[in-house]
């Protein structure tokens, strides 16, 4: 099991008020799945994404990623786990504006301590997998929205992560480009990657094989679906 959540609970304390964002979630995701987590705003999607992405730790409950207990890890350990296990794709791309596409893709490899030569080679391979080799030396502001998100996907893939975590990956893209990006993710899924997309758009969720609905911090439904 790649992801194993048991009793996963996150409570935010704002002053004296306790705001439960996730309540006793149980969720298992197997290697190679393509899961969409859906829900209206305030349903706990973002909190779910932060915890699954090891950016945050649960208040209590268990989160196991690839056999590693994530709860009660230090910040330094979480950073290392993120670097090795998770590839992020964000709604706003989150590329470094002053760095070339290639440099952006190389960034996680820098933190993994990989040598310059190998970095370059791996980054070029990742850019190849999103068909952007010819844009390697362009800055983000010289790329279209779709191209930027493909660079971000390449960056997410370059370390060979256990999990690709996409948070509203098409939120800033038009529908045509959105479909391109989702097709790309579907292709990566076919190549064996585990992909978890967080979205509120039905159109996007339909690329996934399994859809988990969240509402008020709880799982409302969890269904396999056949992809059209």
């Amino acid at each position: 099991m790649l992801i194993r959540c048991r009793n996963l609970t996150k409570i935010y304390y704002t002053g004296k008020i306790q705001v439960p964002a996730l309540i006793e979630i149980d969720l298992d995701v197997k290697q190679g799945e393509f899961v969409a987590i859906m829900g209206p705003s305030g349903s706990g999607k973002s909190t779910m994404m932060n915890i699954l992405g090891c950016l945050d730790t649960p208040t209590y409950g268990i989160y196991e990623l690839d056999g590693i207990q994530i709860q009660s890890r230090t910040e330094e350990e979480l950073a290392r786990i993120r670097n090795r296990k998770i590839g992020f794709v964000f709604q706003t791309f989150n590329l470094l504006p002053r760095a070339s596409a290639l440099a952006n893709v190389e960034l996680p490899l820098i933190y993994a301590g990989i040598t310059a030569e190998e970095r370059h080679q791996k980054a070029m391979e990742a850019l190849g997998s999103v068909s952007l080799v010819d844009r390697a030396h362009h800055k983000p502001n010289e790329l279209s929205g779709g191209e930027r998100q493909r660079v971000a996907v390449a960056r997410a893939l370059v370390t060979g992560p256990s999990l690709v975590l996409a948070d509203e990956p098409t939120g800033n893209l038009d529908s045509k480009t959105s479909n391109e990006i989702m097709s790309l993710l579907a292709k990566l899924h076919e190549a064996g990657n585990t992909i978890l997309v967080i979205t509120h758009e039905q159109d996007i969720a339909k690329y996934a094989h399994r859809v988990v609905h969240l509402r008020d911090g709880k799982i409302e439904s969890d269904a396999m679906r056949s992809v059209s």
Binding site: N50, G53, L55, D56, E75, E76, A79, R80, R82, N83, R84, F88, F90, N94, L95, L96, R98, L107, P108, I110, Y111, A112, A116, R155
Partner: protein
């Protein structure tokens, strides 16, 4: 390693992107390092030309005189009696530790040879031992000899510059020079030395003591008694002996101050050390204040930079940068900024030192350690004042930072 390079690249990028902002940021550092480099260069220059010359002057030479060379209360000496042969003979008799001793009268005269003239030349009446006291060795001919001194013969030894201005290419040996109305035959020319106050041996004419008295008179002149002591250790002993005999001969009552002075080149050394000490203190003051101001500038700009780049910090952390890596990155950036200021400061400092050397008599000598000192100081300032901004960057919550607009 790569993180260092990233930090340097980022800092250089910021420098290029906001040249004015960066310039103002590093201004304090630039001023501080410029001061440090310029002043150390000048002091080092002084050390070379002044202190070394001081050393060749011989710190083992004592000058017993009416006036102290360095004294704020110069006016009290006016009432002191002149020194004369009485004092000289008394000191010569008791100062057994002194290797050489000479009386000396000095005056300033114009010197003529044919139609050539050297103006305002120091003429000194001394004995034959003065050669060893001042290491006044002849480059041509010979020094004054004992029988010339005892007989008060009208002969003279010329300083190298005097010889050159009066004789040029001509050989001065055996020729006569005219001082006032007396002809002096040239018996020697001194080696070229260097300048040192009024005792510059290059611009002096030495004549036998007796000849001086006869030609220029001894009345209203105060004698200077010059002694060479073998080493530094015997100086206090000799000084005490001289003081005792001088007080006795001059009948200074018990409890009254000396009415004479025993001078040494060392007083200039002390004066010099005071001067350079003052310069160092100034350098330290100006340098420290500028570096603190510069450091605050760096801190300020780094805090701005950290805030501006909050989202970047979030991205980096999401991709696996640990707190330590983020801290390090911003620290390297701060150090790069201040080091650039330091480099500019070093270059400016060297230029200022050259300028001072050009337009003033103060020399300048660049020491590689002063350059290292400047770069070291500026980098230290970068680390010190970059630490807080870098820490605030490192401690940012990645979730908050990613959401930052």
């Amino acid at each position: 390693m790569i993180v260092i390079w990233e930090g340097i690249k980022q800092a250089l990028y910021s420098l290029r992107a906001n040249p004015l902002r960066s310039l103002l940021t590093t201004l304090g550092i630039v001023i501080g390092i410029t001061t440090v480099i310029a002043i150390t260069s000048v002091i080092e220059g002084l050390n070379i030309s002044f202190a070394e010359e001081l050393a060749t002057m011989g710190s083992n030479v004592l000058y017993v005189q009416k006036w102290a060379w360095v004294d704020k209360e110069w006016y009290k000496y006016r009432h002191y009696r002149n020194l004369g042969m009485l004092e000289y003979n008394a000191i010569a008799k008791i100062a057994s530790d002194a290797q050489f001793i000479s009386p000396m009268y000095r005056t300033v005269k114009d010197i003529k040879h044919g139609n050539k003239k050297a103006e305002f030349v120091m003429v000194a009446g001394v004995n034959e031992q003065y050669k060893d006291i001042r290491a006044a060795y002849p480059a041509a001919g010979r020094f004054l000899v004992k029988y010339e001194v005892e007989g008060g013969r009208p002969v003279c030894v010329l300083g190298s510059e005097v010889a050159e201005s009066l004789f040029g290419q001509e050989n001065p040996l055996g020729k006569n020079v005219l001082i006032d109305s007396t002809h002096f035959r040239v018996v020697g020319v001194l080696e070229k030395k260097g300048k040192f106050f009024d005792m510059n041996l290059d611009t002096v004419v030495l004549v036998p003591f007796g000849a001086f008295e006869r030609a220029f008179g001894a009345r209203h002149r105060s004698l200077t008694i010059v002694l060479l002591v073998p080493d530094q250790e015997t100086i206090p002993k000799v000084e005490n002996e001289i003081r005792a005999v001088m007080r006795r001969v001059r009948k200074v009552p018990f409890g009254k101050e000396d009415d004479f002075a025993i001078n040494r080149v060392d007083v200039f050394k002390q004066l010099y050390e005071k001067l350079t000490g003052g310069l160092y203190a100034t350098m330290f003051g100006v340098g420290a204040i500028s570096l603190i101001v510069g450091g605050i500038g760096i801190m300020n700009i780094m805090l701005v930079s950290v805030t501006e780049r909050t989202r970047e910090i979030g991205i980096r952390k999401a991709l696996g940068a640990t707190n330590r890596i983020v801290l390090f990155q911003f620290l390297v950036e701060a150090v790069t900024l201040s080091a650039v200021g330091g480099i500019i400061g070093v270059v400016l400092g060297l230029l200022v030192a050259q300028l001072i050397a050009k337009v003033s008599p103060v020399p300048a000598a660049v020491r590689y350690w002063s350059v290292l000192l400047g770069l070291g100081f500026s980098s230290a300032v970068g680390i010190l004042f970059g630490l807080w901004p870098a820490r605030s960057a490192a401690l940012k919550d990645p979730i908050e930072a990613l959401r930052y607009e």
